[in-house]
Amino acid sequence: MRSLDVAVVVYPGSNCDRDMFYALELSGFRPRFVGLKGELRGYPVIAVPGGFSYGDYLRPGAVAAREEISHRIREEAERGALVLGVCNGFQILVEMGLLPGALLQNEDGLFSCRWVDLLVEDASTPFTRCYRPGQRISLPIANGFGRYYRGGGDVRVVMRYVHDVNGSEEGIAAVANEAGNVLGMMPHPERACEEILGGTDGIALFRSMMEHLSSLL
């Protein structure tokens, strides 16, 4: 396995997998799609893209989180692989228990699809080291169940919304596990990597992962 290979996990109902693949390739990675029966061993980075895995049946991410491939994601996370979950990918990681809390229906009941301003609160993770602490960035969101609820536990907050967008507790938009190698975020960095799409603030997230991997060589 070469060090820039990234597994993009595709569940039935994932629909941001190709966007993620494209952004990873644009950032110099070698992405590969990995399906339910695929192998994840040895990938230094695993991306869990957005979408509506299993049609959001039961709860968003609930079914996908219990698939065999998700157990393999957990194994690789425990080995130290970087695991990035975006939107439905974040919901899946939370349902797996890899990240704390829960994601609930937006407080206004609406599917929210727009660009939002965020503050990078923790610029020390492998996903955010190319941002400045406190940097204000703009990324698109597209979700109906993006209201983060921490459930009383300690949470490593990585990004917060500048303005309340969905009723998330303390404006939390992105969280990491304690070790920092698992990141879940509702905004879509992969949709913010080219000017033609409206913004480029997502690039630094992918560059951060690249720098992190380089620093390990």
Binding site: L58, A62, G101, A102, L104, Q105, Y149, G151, G167
Partner: protein
């Protein structure tokens, strides 16, 4: 082996806001004029389980709840025998 039927009633915890329930309550109250003061939308899940006894069957349902059907961070549930 016998077949036992259960209804699992899953509800968001009381302090977790429920936009669906709030919207439906508002319409019932404001548009239909019904004095509905609280309305929460949960899930009702019907299960039929093969087991030797109701106790064993209930154990299966409890496992289904804890392993998948209920998210204990935000939901409470009750198991009703049918």
């Amino acid at each position: 082996m016998q077949r036992f039927a259960f209804l699992v009633n899953v509800q968001l915890k009381g302090h977790v806001r429920d936009p669906r329930g709030e919207t439906i309550r508002r319409v019932l109250k404001e548009e239909k004029g019904l004095p509905v003061e609280r309305l929460r939308i949960g899930k009702a899940i019907l299960l039929e389980v093969e087991a030797l006894s109701e106790e064993e069957a209930r154990g299966v349902v409890e496992r289904a709840c804890s392993e998948m059907l209920v998210n204990p961070v935000v939901e409470d549930y009750e198991v009703l025998a049918l």
